[in-house]
């Protein structure tokens, strides 16, 4: 016990800062209202280039340290040039990276040292939906399956609890499991 108690758990997560932010945003709920943004520019065919940089939060405009850009396209079996990931794969990337970040934060808070965390995500889709072959088939995924392989200084039960808590507090998990109102306009 004393050996685990004295070893410093470091998953590279600044839990004190997160807990401090939680307290600060409890006291000033307005500052907790964020806006996330992305812009996407069509290149050619199904190929597009998206960038993210600015966002709003803590009551003012914020910015990533640099602009990040993402190429999206469709694979050659769709008669595309395959110059980037498929948009639905970005959704899987979003889900996996959100859950993974959550696991690191929760593990740090629970004093669990992680050695490796690997998520494998698979989602089924029936193309009869998007191709308009069968109107009863939805366009999106039938279901998403995430499998985690985690090596950590913790029991299986504690690891399962980490993964469960991470889902509970995940923005992307919420976005994909619950409906969201979406408005799309033309300027």
């Amino acid at each position: 016990m004393s050996a685990t108690a004295t070893r410093v758990v470091d998953n590279g997560v600044n839990v004190e800062a997160l807990l401090g932010a939680r307290q600060a945003l409890t006291d000033t709920p307005e500052a907790a209202r964020f806006k996330w943004r992305a812009s996407c520019r069509w290149v050619r065919g199904t190929h597009s280039k998206s960038t993210v940089q600015g966002f709003f939060g803590l009551g003012s405009e914020q910015s990533h340290r640099t602009e990040f850009s993402f190429e999206a396209d469709h694979p050659e079996v769709f008669a595309s040039e395959d110059l980037g990931a498929t948009p639905v794969e970005f959704v899987l990337v979003g889900l996996a990276s959100c859950l993974t970040a959550g696991i690191a934060a929760v593990a740090q808070n629970r004093q669990i040292q992680l050695r490796s965390v690997k998520a494998t995500v698979e989602a089924g889709m029936d193309l009869q939906g998007i191709l308009g072959i069968d109107s009863e088939v939805r366009n999106g995924f039938d279901a998403i399956k995430v499998v985690f392989d985690i090596d950590a200084d913790a029991s299986r039960e504690d690891i399962e609890a980490l993964v469960a808590q991470s889902q509970k507090r995940s923005a992307v998990f919420d976005i994909v499991t619950n409906p969201t109102n979406v408005s799309v306009e033309v300027r």
Binding site: P29, D142, A143, E157, E160, A161, A164, Q165, Q167, K168, F173, D174, V176, T177, N178, P179
Partner: protein, 446 residues
């Protein structure tokens, strides 16, 4: 309006908690009155469904100066038995109860509070809010989008399945109320869907004893509000999936699904006559299973430490909650013939008559273990108010003693000014309260 009455303390609500406080005040020779909108134990008489029994076994129904003494300590009181129990307590206590006296407002007044009822106006130096934690069903705003052909019902209005038409019922929420109502309606021959969000799974008995016995013995129910990590969250935890039956049966999701209840995720929206359910059912069930395992581990450790392990049954672990492979995400109220939606989505106290600025931005009462954020104002019986057991019948004793001590000290220190009125400065009142808080803390909690 008749002339004002003056007293030291007005207790609002003649349920078990208000009566226990009355007993304390009488013993301390403090002038008080208990105002009750209906009869003693009114909510138990008028706002509960017919088959409901307490979730706690009879032996646990104990109040200061009163306890269950019947022949079935391990059984669970029916509503008429609860009413009888509390009626008896009112007689034992000899509480000065004014029945059929509805409080219409409580406001700050010189020297304390003005309590207005339909009959007369009271002036009191202190007011105890003992009107109950479960007065108002907490129905989510999305209920307004329900199609007109589907009936909306809360557990407060529900009495028995005869009220329902023969179409299917969607029960929203899998707390004690939700699983009990799903069970009863299923038994009446109707099809039942249960929308499951965050919930607490518990077996009725564990290692041969009632789960409440272990929670009591292992000190879980005595955990204090100022010793838990996140009290705001702890106060929101739904009631555990328990039912009180003479057979001491466990009522969990597995026992419901094995008999045909369809599980769906948390109700996330109602659009165009369709209910949308969250895809998070599996995780909510996994979390409840994990928490149950943790609780049983804790009980096992306690048994081990206490040296009981040889006298009692071996540890048990329960099968994980079975969730459907692909729970339905969309349900059409008309096509699926859903006649009723029953909102087992929790309750909150009704303080619409409390005209004192003691609410946070979410409309919740601001209090520190029942000591409300206004001098001389106290609450009783709220969820995890001072201890995990605060909202239970047996939770009243410790809370009444501590808050009663606090109140007595407050009355001694605060300038007496019910009549004739002398203005006290709010800051002086706060100062006095802080002093009393720390004095009480030193004498009782350490």
């Amino acid at each position: 309006m008749t002339l004002a009455g003056a007293t030291d303390v007005v207790v609002i609500g003649a349920g078990h908690a208000g009566l226990a406080m009355s007993r304390y005040l009488s013993a301390a020779a403090i002038d008080h009155v208990v105002l009750e909108r209906g009869e003693i134990a009114n909510s138990w008489r008028r706002e509960r469904w017919d088959s409901l029994r307490l979730l706690t076994p009879n032996w646990q129904s104990r109040l200061p100066g009163h306890a269950y003494s019947g022949p079935a300590p391990d059984s669970f009181m029916t509503m008429s038995e609860v009413i009888g129990f509390i009626d008896d307590y009112a007689k034992v206590v000899g509480a000065p109860v004014r029945t059929f006296t509805t409080v219409t407002s409580v406001s700050e007044a010189e020297g304390g509070y003005q309590v207005t009822t339909e009959r007369r106006v009271w002036r009191a130096r202190s007011v105890i809010l003992a009107s109950g934690a479960s007065s108002m069903p907490d129905v989510p705003p999305l209920s307004s989008a329900l199609p007109a052909t589907t009936r909306s019902l809360t557990p407060r209005e529900y009495r028995n399945p005869k009220q329902l038409d023969d179409r299917a019922v969607l029960v929203v929420g899998a707390s004690a109320s939700g699983v009990q109502l799903a069970d009863e309606i299923l038994r009446s021959g109707r099809r039942v869907m249960l929308a499951v969000g965050e919930h607490i799974r518990m077996p009725r008995t564990y290692r041969g004893r009632d789960i409440q016995w272990w929670l009591d013995a292992a000190g879980v129910l005595d955990e204090r509000y100022d010793a838990v990590d996140d009290i705001v969250r702890a106060r929101r935890v739904p009631s555990p999936q328990l039912i009180g039956t003479p057979e001491r049966a466990t009522l969990d999701l597995n026992s419901l699904t094995s008999r045909g209840v369809e599980l769906v995720g948390r109700l996330a929206g109602i659009v165009d006559g369709k209910a949308q359910f969250s895809g998070s059912l599996r995780n909510h069930c996994a979390m409840a299973d994990l928490k149950l395992r943790r609780l049983l581990d804790r009980i096992d450790e306690w048994i081990e430490r206490s040296g009981m392990s040889r006298e009692i049954a071996a540890p048990e672990r329960f099968a994980p909650t079975h969730t459907p492979q692909t729970p339905r995400l969309l349900v059409d109220f008309e096509a699926d013939r859903i006649g009723t939606v029953l909102w087992a989505t929790g309750f909150r106290p009704d303080y619409r008559w409390l005209k004192v600025p003691v609410f946070d931005r979410k409309g919740r009462l601001k209090h520190d273990g029942g000591i409300v954020d206004a001098p001389g104002l106290y609450a009783l019986g709220l969820n995890f108010m001072r201890r995990r057991k605060s909202s239970f019948i047996h939770g009243a004793e410790d809370d009444v003693r501590e808050l009663g001590d606090h109140l007595v000290a407050y009355l001694r220190r605060a300038p007496y000014s019910t009549s004739p009125p002398t203005r006290t400065f709010p800051s002086a009142g706060l100062e006095a309260r802080r002093y009393v808080d720390s004095a009480i803390a030193k004498s009782h909690f350490h």
